[in-house]
Amino acid sequence: MARLDLHEESVDGVAILGVRGRVDTTTAPQFGARLTEIFQDGSRGLVLDLHELEYISSAGFRELLLAARRADKVARRLILCSIPGKVQQIFDIGGFVDLFSIAASRDEALNAAR
């Protein structure tokens, strides 16, 4: 399996990016570049489906913060959803839970992003 696998779809003009694997120093540039492209392509919002995310390091969090800033600039919504338990713990200790809009499920995230 690739270290990071990104798969994208669109529902009602909202982009959904599924993130599978690891977002670390090696893969963070690829992750960040894809997020930038999505915000440039005119989607109404972006849902990051993280249910297959295995690991995210400080490098990954940096890309998430940059993505959130880009979303604000272009007035789009960025919603994270389905964060696995062990990754959720990393969000907690890094103080990121209150910084992002986080939904429990993909449907809930889609409703929020529309």
């Binding site: 270290r3 690991y55 400080s58 969090f61 940096r62 890094g94």
Partner: protein
């Protein structure tokens, strides 16, 4: 401590008086089922009817003491939970043997001895921890759940009675059990709280309707006196060295069972629970041993904390320790009314069975959850799997085990004793060859994170470490290696040393280069986004938060990061 969603009143909450009393009454209904055990022992000791009723009344006083002691928090006595001790199958085998050999005085003397063994074990609890890891406590809880459930099914179906239950008779346990489960799942408020009591009453009502509860039982109640103070100490005490091994094994099983039960108590009362509080558990084990000593001194058989009672409190959502005092008050009152004691003894066996099966379901799942907290490798898989099968074999093939030499019977006549001893022995055997310190060399030019994760997961499984601790440690190791490699701080290979014992997990990452900066304060979002320096500060901050202790040191041109995790 964070209140779990399924619990209405946690251990330190004070429910309304009505809820406390009704919950106590419900527990008394369940616990009374286990009065069957002293009655069986009394019968084996050839007691008269009057002595039997006295034994039952004394047993109720014992149950009052056994409800209060575990709920206390006085010095080293009591874990402070609603974990009432009850008469238990653990002591039934040895007590029946003692009753046969030397009558009730020998049962009582050996019960005091078993309680004293329990007191000694509670003092050595912490030192013995590596011999009794949580997966063995979980196995003990599972075996007890199976044993309790099996007795329940036996009672429900009328096995071992004059004939199996007819379809009409089956309506009693089925109606009773269906009521308990139905109210537990779909009801709200008080009906949910008192589902077991309601189910018990439904069972009594159906039994009266179909005629299995009637004149004979009412006659037995009428024949007993209305009031009477139980006579304590009328039988005396005796001791027999040849029974000491059987009672020692029973005390050990009771001790392990209490560890499992109190672990369950801690877990069900705290949604944020991550690890057993061994000091508190040691206090609970001491209280449990004291209940057995007091039972022997009062004049009844040994007791042990009840997974059924804990299961009932979980199912109803009332785990407040105030309920323990209500249980004690009700039992003390009941002990003064032999007629009331007689009323309890006429509870139809199928209703007892339904209550046991209802409670056993929660017990079984608790055991599975305790085991699941640990990473299990092949060693631990065999410890659990083989011991479970060996324990069950005692119940499946009793004839074979009865044919073994009599001196082995104390160890082989109970699924719990054999399963537990097997698990302890295999756990000790399989420790051979397990290295408690492991090393890994990582080249910072070619970091393969999945190798680090595999290394940590496999070591954790071999050691039987807790899943959550290994997950935190793995993140710390991966994040630190990533930071050291990407920042160029480390020149040359990273040497990783991971050490484990039952109490701690320590990771040391040493390398040639300057120490990694560990930020005490979280960098701002702007700092993190501005540069890789901010990203590194975030890494250092997170590394500190996940470990219980972190330190960095430098010796010559080499630096070391030390992560310490309590286990």
């Amino acid at each position: 401590m964070h209140k779990p969603a399924n619990i209405l009143y946690t251990v330190d909450e004070v429910p309304p008086l009505g809820v406390t009393l009704m919950s106590g009454l419900q527990q008394v209904g369940l616990i009374s089922v286990f009065l069957l055990f002293p009655l069986l022992v009394g019968r084996e000791a050839n007691l008269t009817d009057a002595q039997q009723i006295n034994l039952l009344s004394i047993s109720m006083v014992g149950l009052a003491v056994a409800a209060v002691l575990p709920a206390l928090r006085i010095g080293p006595v009591g874990a402070g939970y609603l974990a009432p001790a009850v008469f238990t199958a653990v002591y039934l085998g040895p007590s029946l043997l003692a009753a046969k050999v030397g009558g009730l005085p020998l049962v009582l003397g050996m019960t005091v001895f078993a309680g004293s063994v329990g007191i000694a074990l509670s003092a050595a609890m912490r030192r013995l921890r590596s011999f009794f890891p949580p997966e063995i406590a979980g196995l003990v809880v599972i075996l007890i759940g199976i044993k309790t459930g099996t007795i329940g099914v036996r009672y429900m179906l009328g096995i071992d009675t004059s004939g199996p239950s007819s379809l009409a008779e089956l309506a009693v346990p089925m109606g009773s059990l269906a009521t308990m489960i139905g109210f537990s799942i779909w009801a709200r408020g008080y009906p949910k709280l008192f589902c077991a009591l309601i189910g018990m009453c439904v069972g009594y009502a159906i039994a009266a309707l179909i005629g299995t509860l009637g004149g004979v039982e009412i006659g037995r109640i009428s024949a007993s006196p209305l009031l009477g103070v139980p006579s304590i100490g009328q039988f005396g005490w005796a001791f027999d060295y040849s029974l000491a091994p059987a009672f020692t094994v029973a005390a050990l099983a009771a001790c392990l069972r209490t560890v499992g039960n109190l672990t369950t108590c801690q877990k069900i009362n705290d949604a944020d629970w991550v690890r057993p509080d061994m000091r508190q558990i040691g206090n609970g084990v001491l209280a449990d041993a004291l209940t057995t000593v007091s039972a022997g001194l009062l004049g009844t058989m040994g007791m042990n904390s009840s997974p059924s009672a804990i299961g009932l409190s979980t199912a109803t959502g009332v785990t407040s320790r105030r309920v323990a005092y209500a249980i004690a008050a009700i039992f003390l009152a009941l002990s003064l009314f032999p007629k009331a004691a007689a009323t309890l003894t006429v509870m139809p066996r199928p209703v007892m069975g339904a209550m046991l099966v209802f409670a056993a379901s929660s017990v079984l799942v608790s055991g599975l959850e305790i085991i699941n907290l640990r990473l299990l490798d092949s060693r631990r898989t065999y410890v659990i799997g083989l011991s479970l099968m060996l324990g069950l074999a005692v119940d499946f093939f009793p004839g074979y085990f009865a044919s073994l030499p009599e001196r082995l019977h104390p160890l082989t006549d109970s699924s719990l004793a054999l399963g537990m001893l097997s698990a302890i022995a295999l756990n000790m055997l399989f420790r051979i060859g397990v290295r408690r310190t492991q090393r890994l060399i990582v080249d910072p030019e070619e970091v393969e994170a999945s190798n680090i994760e595999r290394f940590m997961t496999s070591r954790g499984a071999t050691w039987g470490a807790r899943r959550d601790v290994i997950e935190r440690a793995t993140f710390n190791l991966e994040q630190s290696v990533e930071t050291l490699a990407s920042s160029g701080i480390a020149a040359g290979p990273l040497e990783i040393e991971v050490s484990f014992d039952e109490f701690t997990l320590d990771i040391r990452v040493s390398y040639e280069g300057l120490p990694l900066e560990l930020a005490q304060k979280r960098p701002s979002n702007e700092e993190i986004m501005a540069s890789e320096e901010g990203e590194r500060k975030l890494a250092g901050f997170m590394l500190q938060r996940l470990a219980d202790r972190v330190s960095v040191s430098q010796k010559g041109d080499r630096s070391t990061i030390h992560f310490h995790f309590d286990h």
